[in-house]
Amino acid sequence: AAQRARNQRLPPEVNRALFVRNLPFNISSDEMYDIFGKYGPIRQIRIGTTKEARGTAYVVYEDIYDAKTACDHLSGFNVANRYLIVLYFNPVRHS
């Protein structure tokens, strides 16, 4: 069943980078890797540091199927009495 799921076609908006909102401002690297790492190996996390970007992050998984599982499970996940908003990153660049 796992093998079948791996070959399954995913909708076009699904991608390995997730955009996360409503994070606690003081969240640590340990907590971030703990929460998001549960669903699979993480390629990279970028966290917002400015006034506008704080509380948001980009989490990139090594594997697109892990990213989908994480997005499905972590939307609305409660961290320090806040509910996470997890969206797929939209790779269309605005230039």
């Binding site: 093998q3 791996r6 070959n7 399954q8 076609r9 995913l10 991608n15 390995r16 980078a17 690297s29 340990d30 971030m32 890797y33 790492g37 190996p41 993480i42 390629r43 990279q44 996390i45 970028r46 966290i47 917002g48 540091t49 400015t50 506008e52 970007a53 992050a57 980009y58 990139v60 090594e62 594997d63 697109i64 199927y65 990153f89 790779p91 660049r93």
Partner: protein, 59 residues
């Protein structure tokens, strides 16, 4: 010669190729080009000491 694929096999092969393309490893340069960086207020969060992404040998 190759045995021609049935339409179902051909479709299956196309889907696998598409998913492989969407799932190939990303270089740091590709990540930089794709995601907002320091000028947009984001910094790379260093993994905690001892974090090792596990590469699934089944892949």
């Amino acid at each position: 010669g190759n045995v021609p694929l049935t339409p179902e096999q051909y479709q299956e092969m196309r889907l696998q190729r598409e998913m492989w393309e969407r799932n190939r490893p990303l270089s740091d340069e590709e990540l930089d080009a794709m995601l907002p960086g320091e000028k947009d207020g984001y910094k790379i969060l260093a993994p905690p000491a001892g974090y090792k992404p596990v590469i699934d040998p089944a892949r």
